[in-house]
Amino acid sequence: MYADLDTAIDGAVDRHETRPALSAGARAMLPILAAYAPLGLLVGAHVASSDNPVAAWLSTWLIYGGAAQLAVLDVLAHGSGWVAAAIVGLLVNMRLAAFATAMHPEWRSAPVRLRVAAALMLTDAPWVVARNRTHGQREERRRYYLGAAISLFVLWPLMVSVGVLVGGRLEAAPVTSLLLPLTLGAVIVPQLRQRPAAVAMVAASCTAALTMHLSAGSALALAGLAGALGGLVTERVP
């Protein structure tokens, strides 16, 4: 019954013009894409220095997440083997399940092909950009997400590919390591205006600081858990 209602609402919204939402999502991603460019070049440099550059380059699409891709390539570069690299990569990418679960209520009534497309292009920046947009109808917000996700999905592999060719020069500059926290932090920081989100992020930040000696995967899983608990508890407090 709920699905029927959702479909009816979506059909009504479809009759309105929703295409601007797609381009609005892509436009919202533009500054993030510019900020991601040096990061893409850095990932490309790691790809170029890998034992198997072709497989590492393919991971741009297969893994599709800069943090997990860097973590996997780093573990492999230290000679820890594919099992350790796979575990770290999967732990880092576990957040994708949280993103997808959080998107579920909005996407439940969407056609399967759109849900598959949304899932394939799901990563940090489009998810947060779409989450920052709280107004508009469900269909409009979906298109906004797709606009943001498509722009990154098209340009990210291009950035990494350019990085394979020229990124080696960037590796020498330590400041490039700050581009990831600056970009991701700048995308999520507006959410601090909501109390549960602020508590979730502070709890996660403290957990990340306390667990910095652990592997990235374990530390981030604990940070996610602390954030989820913090957000839920805060929501219950009036």
Partner: protein, 106 residues
Amino acid sequence: MTVLLAVLVVGLGSLFLRLAPLLSTGRMPEKLTQAAGWAGLAVVAGISVRSVLLFQDRSVAGAPVLAAVSVAIGLVLAFRGRSVLVAVAVGGATYQVISAALAALT
């Protein structure tokens, strides 16, 4: 072969993590989707904090502190409504300028 195996396992696993919740047709409990939202934000915050704390620059003493200050300046700008690009540019430039000044002094 090692790289290819790792990439395939992480790639297929990531695909499952992305697809499974979105392809589920049943209604998920609201608390679960809310908690997932907070967890998602928390992990992104955790990635940022961890990157700063593990930051290394052999040319500057106290590089993680300087990195934290630079990132904080960028994030304050983003919080106050500046674009991501401005926040990243100012944070990065702050680090470059202060680290160059410190290197010149020592």
